[in-house]
Amino acid sequence: MASVTLENVSRMYGAITAVDNVNLKIKSGEFVTLLGASGCGKTTTLRMVAGLEKNTGGRISIGDNVVSDSDKGYFVPSERRRLGMVFQSYAIWPHMTVFDNVAYPLRIRRRPDTEVRDRVMNALRLVEMEQYAERPSPALSGGQQQRVAIARALVFEPEVLLLDEPLSNLDARLRTQMGDDFRALQQRLKITALYVTHDQAEAMALSDRVVVMHGGKILQVGAPEEIYRRPENRQVAAFFGTPNLLNATVKDCRPNGGQYYKLSVEGQGWSGDCHAATEMPKGADVTVMVRPENLHVRDAGQVNGDLSWSGEVSQAIFRGSHRSIMVKTPAQTLHVEASSLSNVDIGRPVTVAAPVEAAWAVRN
């Protein structure tokens, strides 16, 4: 398995910049996901790594070999990059059986028949499809086609596996299951994987690192938890779930001993402590992000948190796994995810509290 390096990679379509100066290093055996809204340039980035699209700027290397360098006009075509790829449409060839589909990369490389048999059956076993080997491929369901596509991509032991929204054509239940299966497989075989999705839950569950993209640019790279809890800016913060974003002013800033800084902030009708990644001057305007699941509703006046707001319950919706409670405060309406056992009456005055670890401030 090999690493992948993108240095200042760009792609223009006429005047449109689909991918804008992307720098990224994927370590060997790492699972990295490109995440972003539709049209942000994920597929284009992936296809440039695959060699299906030429980068108009920058350099791409796989392992120690440069495969594309636009300044030098150097370009290795797809078929010589030794990559496996799973397409969004699976691209299973309808005129072949499952076995022939998976055997194709080996036959192209002129492996002896016995080796082809063994390796194809092995690959099919990995994805639990060995009993379907002789099926004509149009007679497969979506989930099965997806497995075949993965087997085909893995059969010749590629340097890197590329996947473009491989789960988006499956229904919700199957999607979770296939995702988990694939993650287990990837960890077992230690495959370097570059994965594209627009689904944040999928990205967090599968990846070692997530690359958040927007408008062809990388906004942030980091482990899922890192990105979820400590986003670098408001855009990344808003991308995951529906966080409460509050405007506030910095009153005080000091190192908290670890990597972060502890801030004292004041908003409209509330004040308290939170964390931030960088030092901020007094008086700076910041956005404080608090996730709904980290907020607690208490009886009015009862304060046991680093941050608190007082207000009254304006709405409560039972959602099975939890209860969504809207609390109207002088600053803004806060969204709280409380236990579904908790019962609150609409109109009741309450205090909403959060621990300091749950509040994260970014510069406006």
């Binding site: 797809s78 449409s89 691209a91 005129h95 929204e165």
Partner: protein, 588 residues
């Protein structure tokens, strides 16, 4: 055009269970008496249009004298066609059709690939230009090429002699090569229209994944692209081959003068060019060619069973075109050249022919407008224009209405007899225009006295409807298959009656297909020659027939004038079609 798009029979069977539970069908079974009467009327109409001429053809082939005369039943007709000479005719027919199908298919594939899968500049415009020859009546290009590549006075040969000083002609259109060349001009755009959407619809990730697996461009083309395209290539090949056997004009204009006979021209000759028309021979031969067509259609069906790949996928579809670099100007030039040769050259020749006093003498002092004056002063010409327009408008409307009804019943109901009417409507598919013409000739002659169809414009109309019905049924079948049953049922649930539902939903949604089919049928009628030439009589000539008569009299100059008019009409109609009916004809 759409016969290949028809769902294989098992496909229809597949949809049957949903039909069985169709609320609409159940609700309607109450009016079964009216339904019965309606079906009977429909069967009678279709029977008159297809079974009756076919039966008369059989009768004629077994009867010793022409219609209406006393005679006896014998097998002389069939005996008389079993000759060595006819073996050559058969070999010619099949050989010529094969010889035109192979290059046509190759060029059509190349053109479809250029338009659908490369970054050739102005692809949209090129597509319109290279499909134009399909809409030009073959009789016009035949006459134009007769003048262009005439060995003595053809422009091409005159230019060749002038440029090289040679005395021998460069090309002679009156030859096997000429017949094939003329057929190709029509076949290529036809096959192009038939295939281009298959090229366009192919999911490029099927090819890209092959490249990711380590296959080169060329290996990918051989192992993936070509094999995926094989079903559509096979059906195109068969269709083109069958059409080639039916073709009349090319062999009539360029084959007969050179003594090259094919089956259709042999039938024509035995009726029109013998001292006494040999009807028994003609009908026997017609029946024989129908047998041949039947075998071909069976073969086609057998070759294609179960061989269609659904390669179109909606999600993640990325229309990707190959970047050709500087080569894109080569592909561009190839398309332009094709247009130039198939459209510009013939039109140019017709213009040249129409403005000079004598065909072949192109000097300044020969310039004249006299031919235009003669044509416009000719009442026969105006009558033919009127006939053609009336036949085109009425014929296209009636054919499409019939096709819409037959297709509706066979696709969206479970009525008894729906398979029968579908088969009856399909029957003319196996009958070349020439054969159907012969069949109707006898059919009209055998009608009882008070029904004077023979010799009127109605005779032509009925033949055109019969000839157009298979295509119109296919067009409408395709349209109905695409409409979901929910639409129809939803409308019924919301309180609309059956008639309202039909009108509001079906007509409103199916009309684009109807309109496209209408234009297609109209063009079909305008270029029809083989049945018309047997069934016309004084007063009911169409433009094609008038052109033929003038050509036979050696009046190439007036032919050029009328040809230009028709060409203009074709271009105007095609333009209207393209700008007002956005659906392309290949979408059918």
């Amino acid at each position: 055009m759409t016969i290949i798009h028809n769902r294989p029979l098992d496909d229809i069977a597949e949809t049957a269970p949903t039909l069985a539970g169709n609320a609409f069908t159940r609700a309607f079974s109450g009016g079964s008496l009216w339904r019965l009467i309606g079906m009977l009327v429909l069967i009678l109409i279709l029977g008159f249009l297809t079974i009756y001429p076919l039966a008369m053809l059989l009768y004629g082939s077994l009867h010793s004298t022409p219609p209406g005369m006393a005679g006896e039943f014998n097998l002389n007709g069939y005996r008389s066609i079993m000759t060595t000479q006819n073996l050559i005719v058969l070999a010619n027919t099949i050989g010529i059709s094969l010889a035109k199908t192979i290059p046509s298919l190759t060029i059509a594939v190349f053109l479809a690939w250029i338009v659908a899968r490369t970054d050739t500049p102005f692809r949209g415009t090129l597509e319109v230009l290279i499909t134009l020859p399909f809409f030009i009546p073959p009789i016009l290009t035949a006459m134009a090429w007769g003048m262009l590549a005439n060995p003595q006075v053809g422009v091409i040969n005159m230019v060749w002699r002038w440029a090289t000083g040679a005395t021998d002609p460069l090309v002679n259109i009156y030859s096997y090569g000429g017949v094939i060349w003329h057929m190709c001009q029509y076949s290529i755009p036809f096959l192009f229209l038939f295939m281009v959407d298959a090229f366009r619809a192919m999911d490029p990730s099927l090819e890209e994944s092959s490249r990711m697996c380590g296959a080169s461009r060329w290996t990918t083309f051989r192992k993936i692209t070509l094999l995926l395209m094989l079903p559509v290539l096979t059906s195109s090949f068969m269709l083109s081959f069958i059409k080639g056997i039916e073709t009349f004009e090319s062999a009539l204009f360029f084959g007969l003068p050179a003594g090259i006979k094919v089956i259709t021209t042999d039938i024509y000759e035995s009726i029109n060019h013998r001292a006494t028309p040999d009807y028994q021979y003609a009908t026997s031969l017609s029946f024989a060619i129908m047998g041949l067509m039947f075998l071909l259609v069976i073969w086609q069906w057998w070759m294609l069973r179960g061989k269609s790949f659904q390669t179109v996928t909606g999600k993640g579809f990325r229309p990707s075109v190959m970047e050709l670099g500087p080569w894109r100007w080569v592909t561009f030039a190839f398309c332009v050249l094709f247009f130039f040769i198939t459209v510009v050259l013939p039109i140019g020749q017709l213009m040249l022919g129409s403005f000079f006093r004598f065909f072949g003498f192109y000097t300044y002092d020969m310039l004249t407008l006299e031919h235009y004056r003669n044509v416009f002063a000719n009442s026969e010409f105006w009558r033919a224009v009127r006939n053609t327009m009336v036949l085109g408008l009425l014929g296209a409307t009636a054919t499409m209405a019939l096709g819409a009804i037959v297709a509706y019943i066979s696709v969206r109901t479970r009525w008894r007899g729906r398979n029968l009417i579908d088969s009856m409507a399909w029957l003319p598919w196996m009958m070349p225009g020439m054969v159907l013409g012969v069949g109707f000739l006898w059919a009209f002659a055998m009608l009882p006295g008070p029904i004077p169809i023979y010799g009127t414009i109605w005779a032509l109309l009925l033949a055109y409807i019969a000839l157009g019905t298979p295509v119109s049924v296919r067009v409408m079948t395709g349209a109905y298959h695409q409409l979901s049953y929910d639409l129809e049922e939803c409308s019924r649930v919301h309180g609309a009656t059956w008639a309202q539902t039909m009108w509001r939903i079906m007509v409103a949604l199916a009309w684009p297909a109807f309109a496209v089919g209408w234009v297609l049928t109209f063009f079909g009628i305008m270029r029809e020659l083989s049945a018309s030439i047997l069934l016309y009589s004084v007063g009911s000539e169409t433009l094609a027939v008038v052109l033929m008569k003038l050509w036979a009299n050696g009046n190439a100059e007036q032919v050029s004038v009328i040809g230009l008019m028709m060409m203009l009409l074709v271009i105007v109609f095609r333009w209207v079609q393209l700008s007002f009916i956005k659906a392309r004809i290949s979408k059918l």
